[in-house]
């Protein structure tokens, strides 16, 4: 089916999220919609999917203008959408999720569900497109990659002719991404039009037949997918950006962080961190790669002391801090950037200035007796905002009103404004645009060059490869391999999937040893 968006404009108050956007997607084409977070990609797709009504413009399907009052209409017209945050009900089975909203029933008006028909439909679609999903498994028990396949099956059982994939690779492992791309090609070859929303240049180049770049709500160009990453990035950001991180070789000093046989068991009795040992020296970046949910979160929380270890020890600067409180560790010079910045890194209802002193409010110069020195706090805010280029109307703006990139800058500014021995950064650039990403990476490297020991935890392979002086891979609570800087994406990717033998084989084929510690 041919999809055309003509002059779509969508305003939220004074903000113009989509400004006269034109887009044509031909049948059997993978059309990448490239743009930074907040550029208006998702708004545009929500207009297409009937979740928003456009202020101007129209949606045209096979040369017929259509109006959607809701997602039901859009689906009936043949538009399917796989949302970035899956729209699956965790406690339902795959088959139940697939049939929801267009259930096949027997027994007439009573509406008894025909589960057998639903299962048959799932099996039929999954075999036709090679989308393996277990129809009777609860969604909550499935890995995200399979959940995503269930989402695609859900759209296809509704006879989607246009499939919108909103940031589909954000939660996947490298091998799952490969699988997804195979599925996308198969769907395209079967005549489905695919709109692929992403801000990841490599993937767009790998899969797209056509590319449309959106910046600040406007279409700014339709470069060829063969254009270089630098070209695509500068079009997306609106200025030249350096994609490869320039950094000098590390100059490691004394051991700052020494973790021995750390074990963390959660409330449900599940071993999240299983005997992890490693050392990080001053002036080096130790990057921990791994698919989300392999114990990285618990490990970083344990380093700060938010989570208690059941066994093992943590030494910082030669001192055993295993029993020390969070505050003691902060005073020792530990900086911590949590993975969920809005939940754990900031108080959304506090101002930027207040957020900048969350860990120093009780010390000079910010404390004045039992009160706060508001002038010192405001002065500090002005300095930090300037230094870290935080885009905010003022230090008095609420943290929750800032964009993701600027929130992250606030967290970094707070943590880096103290003299640090150890900096722990979890998912430093999750959800950030290319411009902010570059900034955050440069600040982390600068901190390393100051002689701070840095632990970076990331699920982004490119980020790990770009930042690390040494790479560790976590899988099911263990560090299953350490690789030197310069390891290939393939080696790290294999370890992330838990395959040690193949990873060492790949390393062997490359002709260099892995894990030279």
């Amino acid at each position: 089916m041919k999809l055309e968006l003509r002059g779509i404009t969508k305003r939220f108050g004074s903000l113009v999220a989509n400004d006269r956007i034109d887009l044509v997607v031909e049948p059997g084409e993978i059309h990448a919609l490239l743009g930074e977070n907040g550029a208006g990609k998702s708004t545009l797709m929500n207009v297409l999917y009937g979740l928003y009504e456009p202020d101007e413009g129209e949606v045209v399907l096979d040369d017929v203008p259509v109006r959607f009052a809701g997602p039901g209409d859009a689906m009936a017209a043949g538009i399917g959408m796989v949302h970035q945050h899956f729209m699956l009900i965790p406690v339902f089975t795959v088959a139940e999720n697939v049939m929801l909203g267009h259930e096949e029933t027997k027994g007439g008006a009573l509406g008894w569900l025909d589960r057998r028909a639903a299962r048959r439909k799932v099996a039929e679609v999954s075999s036709r497109y090679g989308l393996a999903v277990p129809p009777d498994a609860l969604v909550a028990d499935l890995p995200v990659g399979v959940q995503q396949r269930a989402e695609i099956v859900k759209a296809l059982t509704r006879d989607a002719k246009v499939l919108v994939l909103d940031e589909p690779t954000a939660v996947l492992t490298p091998s799952e991404i490969d699988d997804l791309m195979k599925v996308m090609r198969r769907l395209r070859d079967a005549g489905t039009s695919i709109v692929f929303i992403s801000h990841k240049l490599k993937e767009v180049k790998a899969i797209a037949d056509k590319v449309t770049v959106i910046r600040r709500g406007k279409v700014v160009g339709q470069p060829s997918p063969t254009a270089s990453e630098e070209e695509l990035a500068s079009l997306m950001v609106g200025r030249q950006v350096a994609l490869t991180l320039e950094k000098a070789p590390a100059n490691p000093g004394d051991v700052i962080l020494d973790v021995r046989d750390l074990r963390v068991v959660d409330d449900a009795g599940v071993v999240q961190v299983d005997g992890v040992s490693f050392q990080v020296r001053a002036g080096e970046i130790y990057a921990i790669a791994g698919v989300q949910g392999n114990g990285q979160t618990e490990l970083t929380e344990c380093l700060l002391g938010v989570e208690a270890a059941s066994e093992g020890s943590v030494h910082i600067g030669g001192r055993d801090v295993s029993q020390a409180s969070v505050r003691d560790r902060l005073r020792l010079g530990v900086g911590y950037v949590p993975e969920d910045r809005l939940h754990d890194g900031l108080v959304g209802g506090f101002t930027v200035a207040e957020n900048l002193i969350l860990d120093m409010y009780d010390r000079t110069p910010f404390a004045k007796g039992v009160g706060l020195d508001l002038r010192a706090i405001a002065g500090n805010a002005a300095e930090r905002i300037d230094e870290f280029d935080v885009r905010t109307p003022s230090g008095g703006a609420l943290a929750s009103t800032l964009s993701g990139g600027n929130q992250q800058k606030v967290v970094l500014a707070r943590e880096m404004s103290r003299p640090l021995k150890l900096l722990v950064v979890a998912q430093p650039t999750r959800g950030l645009d290319v411009g902010s990403m570059e900034f955050v990476h440069r600040r982390i490297v600068a901190e390393r060059d100051n002689g701070t020991a840095v632990v970076v935890v990331s699920t982004e392979l490119d980020e790990v490869l770009g930042l690390a002086d040494r790479i560790a891979v976590m899988y099911r609570g263990r560090i299953i391999g350490e690789l030197p800087a310069g390891a290939s994406a393939q080696e790290v990717g294999l370890l992330m999937a838990g395959s040690t033998s193949q990873a060492s084989a790949a390393a062997g084929a490359r002709g260099s040893g892995s894990g030279d510690e």
Binding site: Y49, L51, G70, P71, G72, D73, M75, A76, M81, H83, F86, M87, L88, I89, P90, V91, F92, E96, M99, L100, G101, H102, E103, T105, L110, G111, W112, L113, A132, P134, A137, D141, L142, P143, G145, V146, K154, T173, P174, S175, E176, D178, D179, A268, G269, A489, Q490, G493, L494, A497, G498, S499, Q502
Partner: protein, 435 residues
Amino acid sequence: MSAVQTEELVEVHEVVDVAASKKARLISGSVLVVVGLLCLLGFGLGSHAGYEARFQLSQPGARIRVPALVLPARITSIVLGVIVVLLGLWRITRGGSRRAMHWVVGASIVAVVVSFLCWSLTGTRGTSLDLLGLLQQTIFLAVPLILGALAGVLCERSGVINVAIEGQMLAGAFAGALIGTVAHNAGAGILAALIAGGLIGALLAVFAIRYLVNQVVLGVVINVLVLGLTGYVYDALMARDQNTYNTPPGLHAISIPGLSDIPILGPLLFQQNAIVYAMYVLIIAIDLALFRSRWGLRTRAVGEHPKAADTVGIKVRRTRFVNVIVGGLVAGLGGASLTIGSALPFGKGMTNGKGFIALAAVIFGRWSPRGAVGAALLFGFADALQNVLSFIGTPVAIPSQFLAMLPYLATILAVAGLVGRVRAPAADGEPYVGR
């Protein structure tokens, strides 16, 4: 990268029945041991040796008579106490899974209750307990609780917290008594009760779903409103002229031919009035429909993840509206069972916390209709037991105040102690801003 085999990633995470931690096992096991010892020493050795505990199992004049169950009181109590102690020891040493623990707790409760009953019958020689009567009363007292709990399940499964069950039942009881009396017609009264409950449900729905008012606060406010309104009309009208306004006609018990002659079950279940039969139908219909019908699937979807439901074209707010109002109708019927169903006049605040016990039954029953019915029966049994015990002369007199606490005590113990970690519908109490 493409060389990676992905089959292993397709595997479904194994759902393991988590074994309890050592500490949890020690605590729960020790509690069982202590309870078992209390049973053994208190009820066993505390009862007169040689007395018998007689439990009557059929009514006088029943077509098929069941002989009374006669147990040696002391020995029975001792044996049951020992069983509970052994279960506790098993728990400490072997542990067992969470599922096994449910059975252990269930068995222990039954053992303790039976040994308590044995003990209570040894006050004077020859006392017998009308067990069938006790169970009949259990059902009688559980009817409003069950209907209230079903109303709660209907609402909360769709994502609206219903603290207003109490108010809906009170409105139903009131309207049933007033209209039933004025119209001299029980059917008209029941209809009025349904409408009254439904209207209160609609009030809840409009403010919770349309105007996004905090649902707990809203529920409490509605309860107070209904209490005030019905109390006012009662004082101004009904109390002054009971004959004209507050003598609701009762319902006849209908014996179902054949079924009502089954020993024990017959008189218990099949010699009831129309409201109780309607309740049976509702229990079965709601339990089946919630898990097997299109309506049920959509209701649960809306209560778990409304946004996901919206994206597949389900009208979230309309679904919730319908459920909350239907819930109100069911709670209204529960109210009618207090006045018309029992042929009793309306009294100020006569629901007396039954709506809240029904809410506890919803939670104890893990938001499933059959679970809620089971919990409501348990609470009904506690209530019936305290009635019966106040007639029997127990070996040691129990102050009536303590007996009156029994149903509420059972509620607290059930919700705080036995339920463990339960999972409410994920979007329960969260308003949905959208269609």
